[in-house]
């Protein structure tokens, strides 16, 4: 068999290009419509259909768990996946392509915001329906969204700025604890902070402030790392930030006020899906705005050649510190969300394991790319859930995958790609 440069055989390549050609004219709107239909289908007939196929209930994560747990049911799980997800999405996306293209073109006459919000609304509807099937899905989905925000914020440093920072779990811990203290102290009767200071019903309105407060605390922590380590380039930041992570962890462990190693629990559960979704989307939007401006591109200039950046009027030191604080802020916000989804935090969560996880997401997905961070965070966190039945083998398979990606795509799956909303939602033209 003849092999091409990326290891695919020529006939496989032909098939994939045929599939791509078949769907080339489908705009994002069409895909979203297809996914919405699939999710609706599952919502209404998923469980009876699964029973018909011999499954106990509808597979929660695309049938992976069932396949790994009970190999006898593999055919049922695959059939379910194909008939409930693959087929409806493909057929509806393809059939609606023409009308959706027309709609997408019409939407572009209005400000970009309108079209963008419609797409986001559809996406939210899909996620909402999908996660409504079970509490487990809702949990996984929220953790995945939080992982996206965390990954993107780390990508700012490790990808866009090209430094190697290890302190993100520390920033996340600062954000998680700060926002927890904020909400517990103000709105809950807590054994550490006494009776609630404000009525409980006001809480959800103050939740954004709690998140921002968490982010700001994380940013202040980041300043402690940034000032000594940005005088020079190289490995200093990696070492100092690693030290910072451990300092934060042992600091919290020894701080009886927030529960020490036992952790802090009973946070109000305000981080429901709409809140998490909105915060993560807002975070992606702001970070993407930043990295596409000349101020943000200055990070790339600093990474690729700092001396040239300096000679071209870029204030490199200020650029680096700003970006570092900015990244830490979003890590803190992600931490705040995390604490209010899990409704319990302990210092052990924010250790080396978390660091490995988020670094894996960044490097798996792709450096210097918003798409990459989304793909990396989603695939690693979903894989982690899907491969759960394998127990110990999970920790062999995921790193192995990471190694393979590093061999064939050293900068990650989708690296150095600009996230252009307009390009993403525009109607697709016919090829040729």
């Amino acid at each position: 068999m003849e092999l091409t440069s990326d290891g695919m055989s020529t006939d496989k390549r032909q098939i994939s290009s045929q599939i791509r050609g078949f769907f080339a004219q489908t705009p994002l709107l069409g895909w979203l419509l297809g996914a919405l239909a699939a999710v609706a289908l599952e919502y209404f007939i998923g469980t009876p259909f699964a029973r018909m196929l011999g499954l106990r209930k509808a597979p929660m994560l695309f049938g992976f768990v069932i396949m790994l747990k009970k190999p006898a049911l593999i055919h049922g799980a695959i059939l379910y996946f194909v008939l409930i997800y693959l087929l409806p999405i493909g057929v509806i996306a393809r059939l609606s392509a023409t009308s959706m293209n027309r709609l997408a073109a019409k939407l572009l006459d209005y400000p970009l915001m309108v079209s963008g919000l419609i797409h986001l609304g559809l996406l939210y509807a899909i996620l909402h329906w999908w996660s409504d099937m079970s509490l487990y899905r809702a949990e996984v989905l929220r953790y995945t969204l939080i992982a996206v925000l965390l990954t993107l914020s780390l990508n700012l440093i490790n990808g866009y700025m090209g430094e190697f920072s290890c302190s993100h779990p520390g920033f996340m811990a600062l954000g998680a604890y700060a926002s927890s203290v904020f909400t517990l102290g103000l709105f809950a009767d807590d054994r550490f902070f006494g009776a609630a200071l404000l009525p409980h019903w006001l809480g959800p309105f103050f939740f954004p402030i709690a998140l921002i407060f968490g982010g700001c605390v994380a940013a202040v922590g980041a300043l402690a790392v940034a000032i000594p380590s940005f005088r020079t380039r190289g490995d200093y930041l990696a070492i100092i930030s690693l030290a910072f992570m451990f300092i934060v962890k042992s600091l919290i462990e020894n701080l009886e006020l927030v529960g020490g190693p036992r952790g802090l629990g009973d946070q109000p559960g305000w981080a429901n899906l709409p809140v998490v979704f909105a915060t993560v989307v807002l975070g992606i939007w702001i970070i993407n705005n930043f990295v596409r401006s000349t101020l943000g591109k200055a990070l790339n200039a600093v990474r690729d050649n700092e001396m040239a950046a300096d000679a071209m009027t870029v204030n490199t030191r200020q650029t680096k510190i700003t970006a570092f604080l900015f990244a830490a802020f979003w890590a803190g916000v992600a931490g705040g969300l995390f604490a209010h989804v899990l409704r319990y935090v302990n210092p052990g969560t924010f250790g080396i394991q978390k660091l490995a996880e988020v670094l894996a997401m960044v490097y798996f997905g792709g450096l210097n790319s918003v798409y990459g961070s989304i793909v990396g965070a989603c695939s690693i966190s979903l894989l982690g859930e899907m491969l759960r039945p394998l127990e110990l083998w999970k920790w062999i398979i995921i790193p192995l995958l990471l190694i393979l990606v590093m061999i064939f795509r050293p900068t990650g799956l989708i690296s150095f790609k600009e996230f252009d909303v307009k390009k993403l939602i525009q109607p697709r033209k016919k090829l040729n």
């Binding site: 705005n289 930043f290 401006s293 591109k297 071209m312």
Partner: protein
């Protein structure tokens, strides 16, 4: 008053005297050249003036403002643009992004604009894009605007670097061996470009060069640097016939 004035500049790397008692005056619109054998300290002088190194002694001033102690980006924003001998381009960035980046210090929209995409940001980014296209057209590389810079041919990369230096609207342009590694054809094109930017933008230019043809044809006054000291200064004709310059380049004739 001269545009750029340097008085008695001396620099030591540890115990090594790299530059000694260097003086220079550049008037508006002048093209000055600096020649000298390898290791004479030419690039060190550039790095001293642009703030990458701080001189051990001596003063540097641009339009009467002292540059000593300023950081490289401050000096750059005050009006000294430069190119590098080995072209320090940003390997993951497109040509257009390169040129826009040099307008960094002219952007006033700040972090709020960067985060939220305000109208002011769009206006300023559009302005700097327009300016960037103008310069890229002038250099004849506007057709590559959206390409990643390392995919370009060598000569085109040199032009991008030149456009980038011009985008910061400098008062003096420092060119560090702009024709290094070029074939004769590219050399002639590069000389035309230097003449063009001198003519159209009326810039003062300070040029380091190895190729005599370039220096002799372009520069109004030339300095010759040997072991960090200026041994001769004058018009191209004077330099060409100066015996100590010939000695420095070719060595002394031994008389038995």
């Amino acid at each position: 008053m001269p545009l750029l004035q340097i008085d008695k500049m001396t620099h030591y790397f540890g115990g090594l005297r790299a530059v000694y008692n260097y003086g220079l005056e550049i008037n508006p619109g002048q093209i000055r050249g600096l020649i000298g054998p390898n290791g004479a300290g030419k690039t060190t002088i550039f790095n001293l003036i642009t703030g990458i190194y701080q001189p051990t002694e001596g003063t540097i001033s641009l339009e009467g403002n002292k540059l000593n102690g300023c950081s490289p980006h401050e000096i750059a924003s005050m009006g000294i643009g430069r190119t590098f001998q080995n072209m320090l381009l940003w390997r993951h960035m497109t040509v257009l992004e390169h040129v826009k980046m040099a307008r960094y210090s002219r952007l006033t929209y700040g972090l709020i604009g960067a985060f939220f995409g305000t109208a002011k940001r769009h206006k300023e980014e559009a302005e700097s894009e327009e300016k960037a296209y103008y310069l890229l057209k002038m250099m004849g590389v506007d057709q590559f605007a959206d390409q990643i810079v390392i995919n370009l041919a060598y000569g085109a990369q040199r032009r991008v670097e030149m456009a980038r230096a011009l985008a910061m609207e400098p008062k003096v342009l420092f060119l560090d061996e702009p024709t290094a590694g070029m074939n004769p054809e590219e050399l002639v094109q590069m000389m035309d470009i230097i003449r063009k930017i001198h003519g159209e933008l009326g810039l003062a230019i300070f040029l380091i060069e190895h190729r005599m043809k370039v220096v002799m044809e372009l520069c109004q006054r030339i300095q010759t640097l040997v072991f960090g000291e200026v041994i001769a200064e004058g018009t191209p004709e004077e330099i060409q016939s100066n015996p100590s310059v010939i000695d420095a380049y070719l060595g002394k004739e031994m008389v038995e």
